[in-house]
Symmetry: C2
Subunit: 445 residues, 2 copies
């Protein structure tokens, strides 16, 4: 039907209407809402710029939308008037509506209404995501996420990190440990990457500083508010640094990304009443032992974690940090040998304390990182003793060759884009920050 128009006016997007006050414009978009009051109809049109309200007082114009529902595609000509109380500061009058694509079916969810995100309603949201994303509040999550991703990328590029893309189809599990998805790859077994760990270290030998933001897969047989089987991972690694510099880079990156997001996604953050996080220039760093001690002091009857933090401890120490240390983000440092990976580096003066960190933010771990052992002989030894691996085996020889031919001291981190987005907005489940989430029970839409 679009082809039959004689387009005499160029299309104007709702976000640009303020430049057209008192002029007649042509718009195209979706019917979002109809409200009738007396002899008037207030019809809201949605386009990529947002919403605009039309005030219709002619019966034959109102009749055009009779029996049609949210999503109806239409073309509208109308006169723009300033109206400070209306969304966007303008309204359209004297409108002439042309229905381009009528929607005669009642949508399965109320697209124009606020959807309450509660634990018991999330599955309904996910089931109807295709249509529900047309709701301005729902789509705001992913407009914000696009800016978070851009903010991270801009910061890393500003620090000379080169963006790369490593393969997600691997001959075996990269690191072992977490569960992996297996597939048939032309007759041999392949796995889906759980992280870019080996590749990002290899890229230190090439670019010195490198990052990628790509999907990552974990066959987690658990349905929690913190896990998904597919998520976007920021994998970054840098050479010629020590532990303190790595922590500072991560803090500056998060701070820079928060500033960028608040500057570029303010509208969406406002819709969600997101509170800008309190983040100092450098974040407090507490040892695992210190956190256990603080937690035990407050909860004498509770058994504390040993080699890791439990979710309740993560929440506790974040509250503690926000209250006493002036930071909603806190590093957990000084990790024991138990739980360390073979590629982690221990402190020069203590083989039992590893230079690892978790970054906790608003109650959840959003990133993990560490210094890596960069000396070939030492790494060979750790691979053998800590992981039972053979440096010359098919699974390790490519990775090990980076070290055999010279690697500097280096460290890096992995960060979950959805977890960061979740905590920036204030969502209670990480799946709310995934466009089409995947967990052990969900593979569609």
């Amino acid at each position: 039907m679009a082809n039959t128009f004689t387009a005499t006016l160029n299309r104007v997007i709702s976000s640009g209407l303020l430049h057209h006050i008192d002029r007649t414009v042509m718009m195209r978009g979706w019917l979002y809402k109809v409200r009738k009051m007396g002899g008037l109809a207030f019809v809201v049109l949605r386009d990529r710029g947002g919403l605009v309200q039309m005030v219709i007082d002619k019966k034959d114009e109102m009749d055009k939308l009779e029996g049609l529902y949210n999503g109806t595609v239409m073309r509208v000509e109308g006169k723009v008037k300033a109206e400070p109380r209306a969304p966007g500061g303008v309204e359209l009058f004297d409108t002439k509506i042309t229905v381009e694509v009528p929607v005669a079916h009642v949508p399965p969810v109320e697209v124009d209404k606020k959807f309450e995100h509660k634990p018991e309603t999330l599955e309904t949201l996910f089931d109807h995501k295709v249509v529900m994303l047309r709701n301005m509040r729902e789509q705001a999550i992913f407009r914000i996420q696009a800016e978070v991703k851009e903010g991270l990328r801009r910061y890393l590029k500003s620090q000379d990190f080169v963006e790369f893309n490593s393969p997600k189809l691997l001959p075996g599990a990269t690191e072992g440990g977490a569960e992996v998805f297996k597939l048939d790859y032309f007759g041999q077994e392949a796995t889906l990457a759980q992280s870019a760990q080996f590749y990002k270290q290899i890229m230190v030998g090439v670019f010195e500083r490198a990052f990628e933001i790509n999907p990552t897969y974990r066959a987690e047989p658990s349905a929690t508010t913190r896990h998904m089987s597919e998520f976007m991972h920021i994998d970054a690694e840098m050479g010629f640094v020590e532990f303190e510099e790595l922590l500072q880079l991560v803090a500056t990156m998060v701070n820079s990304t928060v500033e960028y997001t608040w500057a570029s996604a303010s509208e969406g953050l406002g819709v969600w009443q997101a509170k800008k996080p309190v983040l100092p220039a450098s974040y407090p760093a507490l040892s695992l032992e210190k956190i256990h001690a603080l937690y035990s002091e407050k909860n004498p009857d509770d058994t504390r974690g040993e080699k890791d933090l439990r979710p309740d401890e993560e929440r506790f120490i974040c509250e503690y940090s926000a209250k006493h240390l002036g930071s909603e983000a806190v590093f957990v440092v000084d990790w024991p040998r138990d739980g360390a990976k073979f590629y982690h580096r221990h402190k020069a003066d203590d083989p039992n304390i590893f230079e690892r960190f978790d970054l906790l933010f608003r109650g959840v771990e959003i990133a993990t990182g560490s210094m890596r052992e960069h000396r070939y002989d030492k790494l060979c030894e750790q691979l053998k003793t800590m992981a039972g691996g053979d440096p010359d085996s098919e699974g390790f020889r490519h990775y090990m060759s980076a070290f055999k031919y010279g690697m500097p001291p280096h460290g890096g981190f992995g960060m979950g884009l959805e977890r960061l987005t979740q905590k920036i907005i204030g969502l209670s489940n990480v799946k709310e920050a995934a466009l089409f989430p995947r967990d052990m029970n969900r593979l569609a839409p």
Copy 2:
């Protein structure tokens, strides 16, 4: 060893040396090359900024590198002197070398030498990619690719496209057709996405203009110079447009990306002697039939393709376009019903001609796109008659719900990042433009 330094000088990166002429600086990086002439040694250091040459005339300094190979990590203090004939326009004198990480093993490939990319040497290159990427010419490919990706993203964002991330784990083949990888997903069968086709169309209903750049998987049981089983796909889709606008957007995007890349990756493009492509503001568009006719005229004895172009026809028409139409890029339009997908839209006045395009560039298809059928009833019919699908089935109902609840006329395209990079640089095999390529015979490194 790094920990034992008393760092009195801040590290300077080679690309910044021109700001330090006649000063003493501290640098860190990898040993790249050693050349001895008479009583002098010319030692080249590599860091993330590039290369710098040190001129060493003291025997005890030279001795420090005795028996050490390319990749040795070192710290150098020296005095910067301007030397227009040296790489980067400077040299280091009076150097004091400290070996941080010695490399005592002879590298398996000559990292400091130009590696000849020939069909018969590529597997060797891929086998030793971890080390070979340290060669300046090899890593330039991926520095260029990072800028190509950034150029594409910047252009799309400038046109209001919102970046999204759709899942790559799917309940079934998105479109059928090409081979898919299958995996066990917590007891049910899942497939790896062959494209973001359904999701990008769904996102038109949300953002109107949307794109993603993410890995895509094709279980192609063929080892050619054009195919990989994993590649980076630019998937973009836009609403409220017609075919001509879609073609123009793609042309402007490619032109804009070429300009961006030539501005930001000029050094790497110079290393590869890349020729800036001749691309007009709008690209010529030839019908499939016209191309077949032109080819048959030149090759009367050759059987021409029927519903698609053969590789030799693609090369032929690109040469024709460059020679006669002033463009190294050419659109192939007016495709027959045979070969069309159910979601393609045919011309309003001819049900046998579909509004699809291939974009050919320098002899190869780098993108395909089309207008999509946006009317629910018509799409249901095409799904049934052209693909034997059921709109209400589990596999299609989410996708179809986007149309049931209102979709505008829209179109989009998919473009391969590696193919675009390959053709911009002038590489002969798409795998040369993948950091760690994957095909039916290769799953490592």
